[in-house]
């Protein structure tokens, strides 16, 4: 089989999934297994005064775990290590875990959970970004600030004097729940002599591993984390699984039995991480010809009660805040702050959807102020090869945003529709009408960890040959629906000249696979896929070098060579460790330099309708155009874009987290609204290729890209339709109504 890369190989584990045979964590059961639940704080902030066990229940039958039972350190090892596994004397957010229960009978267990009363002596709490920034109450550290960054390029202060126009704007985004259809869950077996083994729904087995090493104060080889088939993650299972895995393990440790914790939907929504809400202020200096002179950006995100990944979300949001434009003077001042809500965490895009929303809304405003069309304004400012980004990264690849924009506008019939809508919208027959509009956003998304992050990760992938001539890929990258298993198989098959079916992907198990880094940051194909390629090339080189494999070989030759090699030497296994591309320099102090190895570039166009009767905005058509290096598998790649756009449409028009005293009040699928099949427009996906030298087959990362552009494109379209400017998402009909003139 030649050249699998670029072809739509069917999903490697597809058959298991369509027949119901794929095993997710709740499908597993162990002999003598107990169920576990978490008892959580009823209040947002305060001292734990008392915990009482009420009702006439057989408490002696229950395993009860509190912070006192923790063998090692009571924190979730991540960045700042400020989040406890179990609150011991103080709580900082509603639903904070306080106590764990286990019992064989899951119905009785639920009855028990309801009968544990946690009394909190409440203290003043802060629930909004604004209140935290204003320091209404200091609830974390000295100043509520988890992290801040300053990007300073050129001289912004001097630029205002030369500006023909100075345009300001303020933009906000709300929290968003990942809503993977499979809730969080973990099963643990743990005891002091054997160590700890956890099976769970997760994206990053080695994150969980690192956290449990500290929780149990055990050596690394005594902790084993196994990823079960995972029903969606989107970042919601990046860091959160460390917490639930630790809880299951603590109950297993104390009870001496396997313990399974599975959240129901209400618990998962109310207690686990969400997308960081954001607030961005833009101040932009521009010439009368529409050239950007200076951008001053203030970007703030709400991290919730504990730090978790806020510094990294802030980082990505900061770096993407000035977009795919060349601007000689840029200052970005960003902060991640604490509030007394459940900690926010990773969600596809990871800060970029927030800052790009602000930017692309603002660019339309600047265009209008200067008297240019949104299109013309962008064309005059797109970045080109040889120019520098906000972090002074020199773009060293052929970038043609002009071309992407032209194509996207053509494919969406943007100009014709704009003209048509002007006519139709002004024609009135006295009845309630549907106003129509079309708008777009232009953006980029950096793949892989920022700056020196990938070097720090030191990712490893191994490859192992079997006597049957099969090649096993051992990587910590998880399949969570995005196609890891299939892509890795294609990459390996292409590099070896073997059949797609000759490649086997080993289930991510820290006892078996090396640490390839987390399955996040759009890095799995681009960074880890490259390691897959080099690991299997290592196998091939070894076989060639041994003389057992001819230079031109068939599948049968390969099988024979493996069999002979194994007979002679026992095993054939190679590893490949991440090497950074040359000439990538990043200064962490100044926050300057080559932020990402590669960027995908995109233009998204949204056509909307606005119903004058119900004030509902609806996306009627969507064009997603992007340059992604290389399309490794067309069906999977389009699937990523379509899924991401659907989530972004949800982010924009449907998904509203209703907060009450720091708790998500609408924590049910009935009241937290994601789009159904009836709500999604046709999503038309187009790719361009421009090979990235350091990605397998030339591929760049794409997982997060589709999350970035829809929100501003849709709001730009709504403004086009009704002539009113909105600057926040989610944008609900109730708010659209307030701005409408009629009635």
């Amino acid at each position: 089989m030649n050249n699998p890369i670029g072809k739509s190989f069917p999903r490697k584990e597809g058959r298991k999934k369509v027949t119901g045979q794929a095993l997710y964590v709740d499908d597993l059961s162990f002999p003598d297994m107990l169920h576990g639940v978490t008892v959580r704080s009823p209040a947002a902030r305060g001292k734990i005064k008392n915990i009482s066990f009420e009702g006439d229940l057989p408490w002696a039958e229950f395993t009860i775990v509190t912070a006192k039972d923790i063998p090692g350190a009571n924190y979730v090892a991540l960045i700042l290590n400020d989040q406890p596994y179990l609150a011991s004397d103080f709580v900082n957010h509603p639903e904070e875990p306080v106590l764990l229960l286990a019992h064989k009978d899951k119905y009785l267990l639920e009855e028990a959970r309801r009968n544990v009363r946690v009394e909190i002596e409440e203290q003043p709490a802060v629930f909004t970004l604004a209140d935290s920034l204003a320091q209404k109450e200091i609830i974390w550290g000295n100043d509520n600030v988890f992290k801040k960054f300053l990007v300073d390029k050129g001289n912004v202060d001097e630029a205002w004097a030369n500006a023909d126009f100075i345009v300001e704007g303020e933009y906000e985004t709300g929290a968003q729940e990942q809503l993977y259809i499979e809730n969080n869950g973990a099963i643990a077996i743990a005891n002091p002599s054997d160590g700890v083994t956890v099976w769970g729904s997760m994206q990053c087995p080695y994150y969980v591993h690192k956290a449990l090493v500290k929780l149990f104060a055990l050596p690394e080889e005594k902790i084993r984390i196994i990823q079960t088939e995972t029903g969606g993650g989107f970042g919601g299972k990046e860091e959160y699984p460390s917490l639930i895995a630790g809880h299951a393990a603590l109950l297993a440790w104390k009870s001496g039995k396997p313990v399974k914790i599975i959240y129901d939907r209400a618990e998962d929504m109310v207690a686990t991480t969400k997308r960081h809400p954001s607030h961005t202020r833009h101040k932009t200096a521009v010439t009368k010809d529409g050239k950007l002179l200076a951008m001053e950006i203030d970007f703030a995100i709400d991290g919730g009660a504990y730090c978790t990944l806020s510094p990294v979300v802030l980082s990505r949001g900061t770096i993407h805040a000035a977009g795919p434009y060349f601007c000689p003077n840029v200052r970005i001042h960003s902060r991640a702050v604490a509030t007394n809500v459940p900690p926010h965490g990773a969600f596809r895009g990871f800060g970029a959807p927030q800052s790009i929303f602000a930017l692309e809304r603002h660019m339309d405003k600047v265009a209008r102020t200067v008297g240019l069309t949104p299109e013309e304004f962008r064309r005059r400012n797109f970045i080109h090869e040889g120019e520098t980004t906000a972090t002074s990264q020199v773009i060293r690849e052929r970038v043609d945003m002009d071309h992407l924009l032209t194509r996207a506008l053509q494919l969406s019939e943007y100009h014709a529709k704009r003209e048509q809508f002007v006519k139709e919208n002004s024609a009135s027959n006295g009845r309630f009408a549907k106003k129509r509009g079309i708008g777009f956003a232009t953006f980029m998304h950096g793949a892989g960890f920022t700056g020196s992050g990938e070097v720090f990760l030191q990712s490893v992938v191994s490859a192992e040959a079997t006597a049957e001539g099969k090649v096993k890929i051992l990587a910590a990258s998880t399949e969570i629906g995005q196609g890891t298993n299939t892509i890795f198989s294609q990459i390996a098959a292409e590099a070896l000249g073997l059949d797609f079916d000759s490649i086997e992907i080993v289930q991510p198990d820290t006892g078996r696979v090396p640490n390839s880094g987390p399955t996040v940051a759009s890095r799995t194909s681009m960074v880890v896929g490259k390691l897959v390629e080099s690991a299997v090339m290592g196998l091939k080189q070894t076989l060639l070098g041994s003389g057992l494999l001819p230079a031109q070989y068939t599948e049968a030759d390969f099988k024979n060579a493996c069999a002979e090699y194994l007979a002679k030497f026992g095993s054939l296994k190679t590893s490949s460790t991440y090497q950074p591309p040359p000439n990538v320099y990043w200064d962490d102090e100044k926050y300057q330099g080559d932020a990402y190895g590669a960027y995908a570039w995109a233009v998204y166009v949204a056509e909307v309708s606005f119903d004058e009767l119900t004030y509902e905005a609806r996306v009627e058509d969507f064009v997603a155009m992007q340059e992604i290096g290389r399309v490794l598998n067309p069906v999977l790649a389009a699937g990523q874009i379509e899924g991401g756009v659907a989530q972004a449409i949800g982010f924009t028009l449907f998904e509203n987290v209703v907060w009450k005293d720091g708790r998500m009040a609408n924590n049910q699928m009935t009241n937290y609204i994601i789009p159904t099949p009836a709500d999604i427009p046709p999503i038309r996906v187009y790719f361009e290729e421009n090979a990235y030298a350091y990605g397998p087959g030339g591929a760049k990362g794409i997982g997060e890209l589709p999350m970035d552009g829809a929100a501003p494109a849709i709001l730009n379209a709504i403004e086009n339709a009704i002539g009113v400017s909105f600057n926040n998402v989610p944008l609900m009909p109730e708010q659209l109504m307030a701005a409408d003139e009629r009635g």
Binding site: V18, L179, G231, G639, E642, Q668, P677
Partner: protein, 169 residues
């Protein structure tokens, strides 16, 4: 006859009820002791070890728990098992015949209808039901026929495509 595991404690909060039922699942007859109000979803998964049917929401919103009950699709998280005495149920495990995949299943694999797979069992059953009632659905028919099944991964486009392709078989 499969006995349910009764609570291991001597404690019972109030009176505890159980009943015997007999019903067919994927053409096989089962006799079980059940709690009358136990969800059909839990009985299938825990007492019959048919874990293909999934819980996504427990409120009848997501459709991950879809099964066929007496010829019609229902959300098994909303059916008390007492009501299926004498009934015939098909779960995802009963869709393929002797390792021969249904055209819908084949299409889902080929055309990207499944990504993480958790919504897939329910989605497949809903699609199979749709095509049974309407062998040549329009795209609108497909959107409406699958409106009770939520997917967070695909954005639905390739699910529609998979159903369209399955019709052609």
């Amino acid at each position: 006859m499969t006995r349910i595991r009764s609570t291991s404690s001597a404690f019972i909060c109030g009176k505890s009820f159980s009943m015997q039922i007999e019903f067919k699942v994927n053409n096989k007859v089962h006799q079980l002791d059940v709690f009358p109000m136990a969800r059909l979803l839990d009985v299938l998964r825990e007492q019959l070890q048919l874990t293909g049917t999934k819980e996504g929401c427990g409120e009848g919103e997501c459709g991950a728990c879809t099964v066929v009950l007496d010829g019609r699709i229902v959300n098994s998280c909303l059916v008390p098992v007492a009501q299926v005495n004498g009934a015939e149920i098909t779960t995802i495990e009963g869709v393929a015949h002797n390792d021969q995949l249904h055209a819908v299943q084949q299409a889902f694999i080929q055309h990207g209808g499944a990504q993480c797979g958790i919504c897939t069992p329910g989605m497949v059953l809903a699609a199979v039901d749709l095509l049974k009632r309407n062998p040549q659905p329009t795209e609108d028919d497909i959107r409406n026929g699958l409106a009770g099944n939520l997917c967070r991964c695909t954005g639905y486009m390739k699910i529609f495509e998979s159903v369209v392709q399955a019709c052609r078989k």
